[in-house]
């Protein structure tokens, strides 16, 4: 019995995003056995020590624990004992309600919850269904029957009983609703959030509503954390077949200078050096915003970045990210304050010319040039020559286009002309695309 309770708590925790392995749940069971269920605080502390293994997880754990073990299902109230004259035909629920048997009611409710498998609740729309189910299993039909019977009998006591039952029924409904609500918050609340996030991963960034921005930020933070974990270690690449003679000598001193163990040379793999050029015209703005969020959330240890934005002309914006926290910096870019950028007709040719004039020196054979834009240049000179130059000078040029490939080259899109000078061209319109591209960027340094 007790193990089932713990199992349910663990299920609730898992649904809320706490990762709990099998061995940890075994630990929790043995801890609970050792401590016993006598003292609530001690039990909470010991389960927290075995199940929740970081500060955020501890917070989730505390919420779940309180929801799970809340015992005040039925607040203290007066039983209407006087009305209970022990008529044998009354249903058990009627008897419990009239005698004010709170413990009994609470137990019946939990039992009913168990029976209708309330753990399976997923959506808030299911709440009323589960309320009905729980009430039904507790025997609400018997109670309703009793109530009708009392109403039909014209004696004073039965009228009083009917009235008391009506009130009690309303109260019972409230309690069951609270109960279901609590179970919903325990088992489904986070799951729903999780589902929205999953949907947002593949939603087109340009279509995302403002109110979902904070969700996207959470999402990006999660992805960035994963990327940081994977890529933050300094990579080394073995130079195959070349002996590090000094190190070999040093390490073999212990063997009287006999060379038992060879040491090979390895070279440190550099952090990626990124130049990001973002189109910030209306069509690309949303994607640019999130790509910059992505790049700048990455740990300093992972990548070196300089960023530029352009519309009719090109300006550098790296300093904004250095002076302000990422999210504020993004706001500043959005409204273009204190930047000498002209938000007129998009002109890729002009942007490339500006870049060539002022910043071409930055491009070395270690640089990755990342261009984000739809390549719609309003029929101006596309300056493919400059892109060719970049292609030759840099390690590689990557172009991210928020439009799907079928639109490339249609109308004023110059994508087809830029294509030959890019190492890689990808469609990039969702958070998932961004994640994959940044991952690729870090993987192939």
């Amino acid at each position: 019995m007790t193990e089932q309770v713990l199992q349910d708590l663990i299920t609730a925790l898992r649904r809320s995003g706490v990762r709990i392995s099998l061995s940890e749940s075994i630990d929790a069971v043995s801890a609970a056995k050792l401590i016993g269920y006598g003292d609530r605080t001690t039990l909470r502390d010991s389960l927290a020590a075995t199940l929740a293994k970081s500060q955020p997880e501890k917070e989730i754990f505390n919420t779940c624990f309180d929801l799970f073990f809340s015992l005040h299902d039925f607040p203290d109230g007066e039983g209407t004992d006087g009305l209970l004259c022990g008529t044998a035909i009354d249903s058990p629920l009627t008897q419990m309600v009239l005698s004010g048997d709170r413990a009994g009611l609470s137990m019946a409710m939990h039992e009913a919850g168990e029976h209708v498998e309330i753990r399976g609740i997923r959506f808030f729309t299911q709440k009323s269904l589960y309320i009905q189910k729980v009430m039904k299993h507790m025997g609400i039909e018997g109670l309703d029957g009793d109530m009708r019977r009392f109403q039909r009998e014209k004696t004073l006591t039965s009228q009083q009983k009917a009235e008391a039952l009506r009130q009690a029924r309303a109260e019972l409904y409230e309690r069951v609703r609270d109960f279901v609500e609590r179970q919903y918050r325990l088992f489904a609340h986070f799951a729903t959030e999780e589902m929205i996030l999953r949907y947002l991963r593949d939603a087109r960034l340009s279509h995302i509503e403002r109110q979902d921005f904070h969700r996207i930020h959470t999402l990006v933070r999660k992805m960035v954390k994963r990327l940081n974990d994977v890529h933050s270690r300094r990579k080394k690449r073995a130079k195959r077949g070349s002996l590090d003679f000094k190190k070999t000598l040093r390490d073999n001193l212990g063997y009287q200078g006999l060379l038992f163990e060879q040491r090979w040379r390895a070279e440190r793999v550099d952090r990626p050096d990124i130049l990001a050029l973002c189109d910030v015209s209306r069509s690309v703005q949303a994607v640019a915003r999130f790509m910059l969020l992505f790049l700048y959330s990455l740990n300093e240890a992972v990548a070196k970045i300089r960023s530029f934005i352009f519309c009719s002309n090109l300006v550098e914006v790296s300093h904004i990210f250095q002076e302000h926290p990422v999210e504020e910096a993004l706001e500043r870019l959005q409204n273009g304050r204190n930047l000498s950028i002209q938000l007129g007709r998009t002109d890729y040719g002009q942007a490339f010319r500006d870049f060539k004039e002022k910043w071409l020196d930055l491009v070395t054979n270690k640089t990755t040039v990342l261009i984000l834009g739809d390549a719609r240049s309003n029929y101006g000179n596309p300056e493919t020559g400059i892109l060719k130059l970049l292609h030759e000078r840099s390690k590689r040029v990557m172009w991210l286009n928020p439009e799907p490939p079928t639109f490339w080259g249609t109308g004023d899109s110059e994508m087809k002309r830029y294509l030959p000078y890019c190492f890689l061209v990808r469609e990039c319109s969702t958070v998932n695309h961004l994640d994959r591209i940044v991952d690729f960027l870090l993987k192939t340094r």
Binding site: R19, S21, S23, E24, D27, S30, A31, L34, I35, T41, T42, D45, S46, A48, A49, T50, A52, K53, S54, Q55, K58, D229, S232, R233, L253, G254, Y255, Q256
Partner: protein, 314 residues
Amino acid sequence: MKPYHDRAFVSIETIQRGFADVGYVCSPQIATTLYLAYHLGKPILVEGPAGVGKTELAKASANYLGAPLIRLQCYEGLDESKALYEWKYGKQLLYTQILKDKLNEVMQGAEDIASSIDRLRQYNDIFFSSDFLEPRPLLKALQQEAGAVLLVDEVDKSDQEFEAFLLEMLSDFQVSIPEIGTIRADLKPFVVLTSNNTREMSEALKRRCLHLFIPFPDAKLERAIIQTHVPDLSDDLRRQLVSFIQQARDLDLKKAPSVSETIDWAKVLVLLHASSLNPDLVRETLNVFLKFEEDIETVEEHLYGLTRKAIETV
């Protein structure tokens, strides 16, 4: 751990009292985790801000159990040879030199290489026996016959490779040495790992440990701590001091004052024979518990308000 240690861990209250006796005031949460760690035989991973007594917890445990404390300080680049064991190369060389004549004696009469190898084999691998093994902290902790407290300090500073290497040690309390075999602990050591959260520890490591987060103590607990460490401080002043520190932690500081710094401040105030806080006294001693110029400036701005509030709490 030995049966006589069981008495020390018989209940949560006993632990709390016992630790208080050795000068460590622990909250019920800490005591519960210690109790579980002892009875489930699991290591404790302690996290929390700097200076809340993570390392001190291990020292106090050793003190309380009367067992030796073996400490392994982690840093980037720490590897097996520094954490587990190393062969005493020097001693091996020296012995072969000294025993040269003896070896010649042994070899005398052997006609060819095969028979001399045969003779050598009779002496087994004497040069790779435990006599020539230099045990480092982890191995030492396993070898203690009366049990030990093993402190792996700042495990987040070590590399991921080392963290993976710790796993065998933490789950089975055994290590493998290729030349000798597997060494197992007769008595499981009581293991405490501390982390300052400079990087997230791996799931595998967390799974094997109980997790304890020690936050900054609340006012009541902090007063108890100060009382244990600086008994000479008067009651009123202790209240004022703790209230001041607690308020200072709520300010936007680069590094909030830790418990150890509160203790330092209390000691300084005793030395200065202070009887009550006043703004001038606080200003002169701010640098005892604030370690950044900006922080000192921030607190100085609020100095009068904070001091007044602190004095009013008495």
